[in-house]
Symmetry: C2
Amino acid sequence: MTNSDAALSQNLEFYRAIGARDLAAMDRLWARDVPVSCIHPGWPVVHGRALVLQSWRAILTGPRPPQILCYEEDATVYDGLALVTCEEELDGGSLAASNLFVIENGLWRLVHHQATPLMTRQEPSSPRGSVH
Amino acid sequence: MTNSDAALSQNLEFYRAIGARDLAAMDRLWARDVPVSCIHPGWPVVHGRALVLQSWRAILTGPRPPQILCYEEDATVYDGLALVTCEEELDGGSLAASNLFVIENGLWRLVHHQATPLMTRQEPSSPRGSVH
């Protein structure tokens, strides 16, 4: 598997973890050895592993945990980092997202996630996530 | 100047270029040797240098080019890349933004920008940009 494919695989695992409300998987997905940050729609920047995971815990255990599909993934591998962009399809609308990964212990781990609501979106060409 | 300070400096130059509608500076700011992408609020992902710069040209020469301030910058330098997060203050509201840079010809150059509207924001502690 190329580095790019491995990053896309971890990107799918991220959306699987959201859809399955799998907090343990979410914990494993985020890097431990370098600073991490996250920008949820409408929120200010969340800095630091503890607060980022706390934010996901609040979302995934809330009254309306997201049902999410992931489309249009694109991975670019830079020196030691991978940037995956994609679109997220949720009950409440669609978002454009960036997920930034570093290699840690042989696996791509998240260091940054940001999602921005889309005003409109085209029909998806190839759904790649699953609704839970 | 540390790598982190240099990335923060280029981040300010990015917002100066927006405020000054400086398309030549915007062109210089984006990397040439690696893939780039951009997520404007409400837009799908824009891929590729030509389309990214075309999108900025449309924004900066439009009927209401943005007047923008940049706050709360935070830079993290990973292997060969720098991620700067910040808040953007515009006429129409505030946004949380990520700007990802690589070193090219000795300068940090943008490979990715994403901005997400904030629902609310606290009073800024230290404005760092300028309104034009």
